[in-house]
Amino acid sequence: MYTGPVGSAALTQQIHDYNVHVDRNDVFWMIGVEHDAVEVDFESGRASLNVRDLDVYDDHDLANSLTQGLGIPTPPIPGVFPVRAKVSFDVEWGGILGTAQIENNSQNFKGNFLSTGATIVWSAEQEGFRFQSDSPADPKANLISVLGREKNGVFFT
């Protein structure tokens, strides 16, 4: 969340960064959710992710998230300790824009992939602050979204 333009080029303007942290096996920002939190109709290029009151951390900014609170020297971003927060979100994938069948032998993954439209409505709440995204969501806000039916690792072969 930014007070100005969005993106990594504007790190110093970021004031909130919500994520579930990297786990002890280095899995990046993934957390188990109820099975019905995700619905997929791959043939029609649709999927949804709906979660309520998920416990996350607000690391303040991406730099502190990736450095686990150390900050960085350039641009100067001081270290910040994470605070607890809760987020709720409804992400919808829909509208097939492109398709690709991929077999990547260097990364050991293969599958069918769809480029789609997507929207998100979400909120966050923590001590002293809450956020509510604009609703209804703007479909034009989607930069890129992908759905895939894939196999990787030992399932690749």
């Binding site: 969340m1 930014y2 333009p5 969005v6 004031i15 919500y18 579930v20 990297v22 786990d23 002890r24 899995v27 990046f28 920002w29 993934m30 957390i31 188990g32 959710v33 099975h35 939190a37 997929v40 999927a47 992710l49 998920l54 951390y57 991406l62 990736l66 450095t67 686990q68 609170g69 150390l70 960085i72 987020v87 992400v91 994938w93 492109g98 690709a100 990547n104 929207t119 998100i120 979400w122 001590e127 002293g128 602050f129 809450r130 956020f131 509510q132 995204s133 604009d134 806000a141 989607n142 930069l143 890129i144 979204s145 992908v146 759905l147 895939g148 894939e150 990787n152 690792g153 399932f155």
Partner: protein
């Protein structure tokens, strides 16, 4: 005279790794790993793991160096709006995985509220989110079925 062996980014990484270990160590001593993040606990009815077993997937071996030039490696391949779909890197964060994945890269706006003062402000956001739903081989070597959100 320059000390050619001095590398500020290497020093930064060493400090980061040290801090990372420190945080993990302190968390384990104080409240257990749960202080750092919730555990994977949602098992499928079809899951063949033992009741109450935690679902611990494994990270993909690949990924990217984030926050250049600091060189912090993350096991994640961000979507690139400029790249053709056929050229994407593995969008899954979990390896030994067979199932559905979704990723999205959305920007938008909303309203932030200071709950102490009631002051409101317009804020912009970028959401890099997604999911994985399917079967995977966990760190325990067993096949599990589960659903994960990428947050």
């Amino acid at each position: 005279m320059l000390d050619e062996s001095y590398n500020p980014w290497k020093k930064f990484q060493e400090k980061w790794l040290s801090r990372r270990s420190l945080i993990r160590g302190a968390a384990g001593a104080a409240l257990g790993a749960g202080l750092l993040r919730p555990k994977f606990t949602y098992a499928s009815d079809e899951d063949d793991s033992e009741d109450g077993a935690c679902l611990n997937p494994k990270a993909i071996p690949g990924g990217v160096f984030a926050l250049k030039p600091f060189g912090i490696f993350v096991h994640h391949n961000p979507l690139n709006p400029a790249a053709p779909l056929a050229n994407i890197s593995d969008p899954s964060q979990i390896t030994d995985f067979d199932g559905f994945v979704g990723l999205t890269h959305i920007r938008g706006g909303g309203t932030g509220t200071d709950t102490m003062t009631g002051a409101r402000s317009q804020l912009a956001f970028q959401a890099d989110m997604g999911f994985s739903k399917g079967k995977f081989i966990g760190v325990d070597g067993r096949v599990h079925k589960a659903t994960f959100a990428f947050v």
